[in-house]
Symmetry: C2
DNA sequence: CTGAAAGCGCTAACAC
DNA sequence: GTGTTAGCGCTTTCAG
């Protein structure tokens, strides 16, 4: 009998077979819930398993089946908003399907690193990959193809020839803008996420399109980096403009928080002087001062959908390169109000 | 040559051997960077590998070595504050050591579920387990022992006979309280996290001890659930007290945010009327209104330490059941100020 | 320095 | 119903 590193015996199927006085095959059948085993033998085997504390060896099963029953989750940074929740949903869905979720961190979002990661990915013990791209990182195209594994991409560029799942960024930005327009705002500034972020790009484009369609005052887009600090900096600058906009559409809640902080600092009222809309509906947004109107992303569904699609690819479904957009919804709270007549 | 599910050929060590005109053994040696291989053969093998796109088969290696080169990360909820960052640090550290990180979600924090999870854990393809306990969940004692794998526990009860890593909750609560006391506050109320949370318990105990040692006004502890909404509810209630406390020590930043919201709502000033201290230094805390004084947890180090310890256990280090506490630090911002003379 | 043989634990295929 | 045989891909002996 083989032993663990700590010297504890580790029973194999053979040990159980000997103990129960049957063949290894019969043990295997019992272990896998096969029907046609004589009850008395089955009992003996079960007893032997219990006595020996038998656990099937995963590595052997993997080798035999050519599968790992695990899906790889690739991302640069779990702490980026939403990634943890997406991962949570992925892990839950895959667990329900009997799969584990293996984290494959890419330490550095540089193109070279991505290339290097390709090789490592192929050696990993996973049957498919969920890739959270979130930002441009060189040749994305090479990555999944080279891996020779099914891939589902989340939060990424539209035109990729892969199965893609994402929040509907365009629809989210639209309902945010429409809300402000409905309140009478004609001069809305957009604090966008970093220019290399796909979702930031999508939201900013939509801002631009809607502002133009609705004939709003033209304002250059202000690029932040998702951080509250960058929102604060832009908030300060917005205060120095003449005339001032009457509303802010921030690319995420953190930047909205920063802008609101700047306005408070200067004694301005929200939504009296400025209406503010965020994006994400992050934890605490409902309790910001004032409670933040924002676009809620259903990341549970994003993650669940990504996992479900990947699992079906793994199970042999042909890859249709589908593109699934999960709708967002506007959560109206206290940071938005009617545009004041004169500003 | 075996084929992938999608029909793509998958070269084995044997295929490479044939192609290069050597034995499988030599290929293995080259693949593992063995020294004593004639350069010309090495070249041939390398070329054959490249042509065939050879990748070692992880399952076979695992079977042979009895190791998976993966560590399991067990948690109930990734979205709980800090778990994502801890996981990030764990994944990074384990990746550097050539390990992957496998997520083993426990869908339900019930004792029965934990028991059921034990069995599944033992079959997982991991060499050790990091367990984020965070709350009481029945018989924790059984879990890791039964798994027969090295275990490191994070954020848990003190007395467990395992290797434990955690932020130093007691020290964190102490510096928060000391800060308020130094500012002259004698009447401090504590909004604690849920009673079944280990870290909430530890922070609340410390609050109680320090308040008593310093002879502060006695106040019952108010229990929230970590959410901003619960902080808001307690904030409302605190406003109705006579006399009112002059300072709030909240068990986390979200509840601090909630309390501050309540105070704003009633036109009170922070820190003029109330000083507020949080815990966590969550994203955005520096940009709350006002910027929140809080206790910063070094979760990177918590995760890194947990991973490093676990890896050394996996590599054969005897388990010393050590207990590592990572110090926190106070970040003084704008939500705390001197106690006003009369309240 | 290199190859041949054996076996890790499991299960599919084939006897009986 | 049950056992035997063979082999997944790799690496650790052991010969040469």
């Amino acid at each position: 009998m083989r032993r663990n590193r700590d010297g504890a015996p580790r029973a194999s199927i053979k040990d159980v077979a000997e103990r129960a006085g049957v063949s290894p095959q019969t043990v295997s059948r019992v272990a896998n819930g096969y029907e046609h085993v004589r009850p008395e033998k089955r009992e003996k085997v079960l007893a032997a398993m219990k006595e020996l504390g038998y656990r099937p060896n995963r590595a052997a099963r993997n080798l035999k089946s050519g599968r790992f029953r695990s899906i790889g989750f690739v991302t640069f940074n779990l702490s980026t908003f939403g990634n943890d929740r997406t991962l949570d949903a992925v892990a839950e869905a895959s667990e329900k399907a009997g799969y584990t979720t293996t984290l494959l961190p890419l330490s550095n979002p540089a193109a070279t690193d991505v290339a290097g990661a390709v090789g490592r990915l192929e050696e990993q013990a996973v049957d498919g990959i969920i890739l959270i791209m979130s930002a441009e990182v060189g040749s994305l195209d090479e990555l999944p193809v080279a891996a020779g594994l099914p891939v589902v991409i989340v939060d990424s560029d539209a035109h990729l020839p892969y199965t893609v799942v994402d929040s509907d960024q365009e629809q989210g930005a639209r309902i945010a803008m429409q809300h402000l327009i409905d309140l009478g705002h004609r001069d809305i500034v957009h604090i966008a996420g970093p220019a290399n972020s796909f979702s930031a790009q999508r939201r900013a484009e939509t801002y631009r399109r809607i502002a133009s369609e609705a004939g709003l005052v033209e304002r250059p887009i202000r690029y932040g980096d998702w951080s509250a600090a960058s929102g604060l900096a832009h908030g300060e600058q917005i205060l120095r403009e003449h005339p001032r906009p009457t509303a802010i559409f921030a690319g995420n809640d953190q930047m909205a928080l920063g802008a609101m902080h700047a306005f408070h600092e200067h004694g301005l009222r929200i939504p009296g002087d400025f209406s503010v809309v965020g994006f994400d509906d992050a934890e605490g947004a409902a309790t910001f001062w004032p409670a933040l109107t924002t676009v809620h992303q259903n990341l549970d569904r994003v993650g669940h959908t990504a996992a479900t699609l990947l699992l079906s690819l793994i199970e042999g479904e042909p890859d249709a390169h589908s593109r699934t957009l999960i709708p967002t919804r506007l959560v109206v709270r206290d940071s938005t109000g009617p545009a004041s007549a004169v500003h």
